[in-house]
């Protein structure tokens, strides 16, 4: 799967992708593959603020549940409501239709600590 340019990845397999003033948040194609068929995504309420490392939601396959960690201090400004009825979008299109939330953040320090996709590839191979 082709990851879009400019993507930033966390060790816990979430990604951020800048879109104007906000970041799209989702899970990487590697994470999707590991989880298998996604059946449910639990998302926070719009407007909730999280600190880096806090759990903002969970993503579930039939027999596994993984937590979603906030990659930087910030605020949830939008959630992907289509996932409520169509969680399979995360499987089919993790970087586009399968984004999970949009985050507003100015946490440069945390953003800088995230990996670029190539480095992430190396990281998961380890």
């Amino acid at each position: 799967m082709q990851a879009p340019d400019g993507i930033l990845c966390a060790k816990t397999h979430e990604y951020l992708l800048q879109k104007d003033s906000v970041y799209k948040f989702g899970i990487t194609d590697y994470a999707v593959e590991q989880l298998g068929d996604i059946v449910f995504v639990e998302m926070p309420e719009v407007g909730t603020e999280f600190e880096k490392g806090e759990i903002l939601g969970t993503i579930e396959s039939v027999k596994a549940a993984s937590e979603l960690y906030m990659p930087a201090n910030g605020k949830i400004v939008e959630i992907n409501e289509t996932l409520i009825d169509n969680p399979e979008l995360v499987n089919n299109s993790p970087y586009e239709d399968g984004w999970i939330v949009k985050i507003e953040t100015e946490d440069e320090k945390a953003l800088n600590a995230l990996m670029e996709y190539e480095d992430y590839q190396e990281f998961i191979e380890e």
């Binding site: 068929d37 059946v39 449910f40 579930e60 396959s61 039939v62 027999k63 969680p87 399979e88």
Partner: protein, 478 residues
């Protein structure tokens, strides 16, 4: 296609009619009209024969101990003696009310007094409550006792340690009592890592929860030292009795140094699993914890059996009344018939059977911990996965061969785990049939994994789409 019972309804049909009397609406005039039901609920309208036929046909879609070898690891699917059903449904047991006076229920009380006496001997505990309704319920009861005990002696202990091989209920039960969970890794022998345990133990640890033998089917050889380490820090040692079937008459949790024990009567003591329940999960404790047990407990005084509600430090009730009494009758019947020798022989045979199957199967499947096991053992489907069919496929293929699959993907610390527990009631013939099927499946996967991937083909349905079920939940007929 299998119709639901709702689809078999014929308007106006009633299976059982209680009376031809036209019941007058005036009966409920004492209740305000706005508190009465106006909508008719959707319930089947169907003849008694059609009801019986419907459920009989459904029953035939189950694989069960009575129809098939059922080596579901950690669940002890042993034969459920039919006498148990007869004794539990005796009128004197099935038809007594829990609020009846003690003088009218002396037989029931006597049974509920004697059963703990037997369980005390088997587990080495000082006092037993029969109230918890299942194993997990027993764990919860035990963890509440841990919590109450430390509150009583004024110690703030917030953590509970569980090994990474533990049953899922262990951490959940502890969490329900407000404890934080510290998970410790197993060592390369599949046992509690003493160093990891030492590191995890501190004066804010309330308890260590342990299954022994553990979920890999291995006996924790260092149990005496583990008990000492735990007790030295002032913590309590909790025994998950799910695997008690391995050790009856050989050792017991008391000898090993445990403080609290739960017992799954539906596993070790042969009461039927009923498609998921009811079970019973009595809890035993050492003397210093006896006053923390749920009330009531049963005592014998002045030539009569009594309920005692007066335990100074009781955690309260965990269930209405006295436990799953009908299950207790079954377990009591079983223990009477087995006796000291029978129970010990049951454990010996259970362990013997598991070792026999393990040795036969390890030539075809990866065995992570290759040493004598107790009543169960855990294979890995890693080799077969490489060849194109994983543990799930193996499990499904076993259904085609007429077996209930073993427990799969548990314990979590073994990749592609296949956990097999034959129990003592299986004959050599039954085990050999299963072994042969496993061997054939392993050979078949080498040649053509697709057959396993497509399995089952001989069950009442093909592979069930669990993803669809979770994505688009359809949870009731309307």
């Amino acid at each position: 296609m299998s119709k639901t019972i709702f689809e078999k309804s014929i308007k106006g049909t009633q299976g059982i009619n209680l009376t031809d009397e036209k019941l007058n609406c005036d009966i409920l005039l004492n209740i305000p009209e706005n508190l009465l039901r106006k909508e008719k609920p959707i319930l089947p309208e169907i003849s008694e024969l059609e009801v019986v036929r419907h459920f009989t046909l459904l029953s035939q879609k189950n694989v069960s101990v009575d129809s098939n070898f059922y080596p579901l690891g950690s669940c002890t699917m042993k034969y459920n003696p039919k006498i148990n059903e007869v004794t539990a449904s005796l009128d004197g047991f099935a038809n007594i009310h829990p609020e009846q006076e003690e003088s009218g229920t002396q037989g029931a009380l006597e049974l509920m007094y004697n059963l703990p006496e037997q369980l005390k001997e088997i587990t080495g505990m000082h006092t037993i409550t029969l109230q918890p309704a299942a194993g997990a319920h027993g764990e919860f009861t035990g963890m509440l006792i841990v919590k109450a005990y430390f509150e009583k002696i004024g110690q703030k202990r917030t953590k509970v340690i569980v090994p990474d091989s533990a049953h899922g209920t262990n951490p959940t039960s502890a969490k329900m009592c407000g404890f934080d969970i510290v998970e410790i890794k197993s060592n390369n022998r599949g046992l509690v890592d003493l160093e990891a345990l030492k590191t995890a133990l501190s004066d804010d640890v309330a308890a260590l929860l342990l299954t022994n033998p553990n979920t890999l089917g291995l006996f924790e050889e260092d149990i005496a030292e583990i008990a000492k380490l735990v007790h030295d820090t002032g913590a309590l040692l909790y025994y998950d009795g799910a695997n008690l079937n391995a050790i009856m008459g050989i050792t017991n949790p008391g000898l090993m140094g445990f403080d609290i024990v739960h017992i799954n009567l539906h596993k070790t003591f042969s009461t039927p699993h009923g498609g998921g329940g009811p079970g019973a999960g009595p809890v035993g404790v050492v003397e210093k914890l006896k006053d923390f047990l749920p009330v009531p407990i049963i005592e014998f005084k002045d030539e009569k059996y009594h309920f005692n509600y007066d335990l100074p430090n009781t955690i309260g009730r965990v269930k209405a009344y006295y436990g799953n009494f009908g299950v207790l009758v079954r377990a009591y019947t079983y223990i009477l018939m087995m006796g000291a020798n029978g129970l010990k022989q049951a454990s010996i045979d259970a362990v013997l059977n598991a070792n026999y199957m393990k040795e036969k199967l390890k030539k075809y499947f990866k065995l992570e911990y290759d040493k004598p096991c107790m009543h169960e053992f855990v294979l890995s489907g890693d080799i077969q996965k490489e060849q194109g069919a994983n543990t799930l496929a193996i499990a499904k293929r076993l259904i085609d061969y007429g077996f209930h699959p073993p427990t799969v993907y548990f314990p979590l610390i073994v990749h592609e785990a296949i956990m097999i527990e034959p129990t003592e009631t299986e004959s050599k013939q039954a085990m050999d049939d299963f072994i042969n099927a496993m061997v054939e499946i392993a050979e078949e996967i080498k040649q053509n994994p697709q057959k396993a991937i497509d399995a089952p083909t001989k069950a009442s349905v093909l592979r069930v789409d669990e993803t669809l079920a979770a994505r688009k939940p359809n949870l009731h007929w309307s």
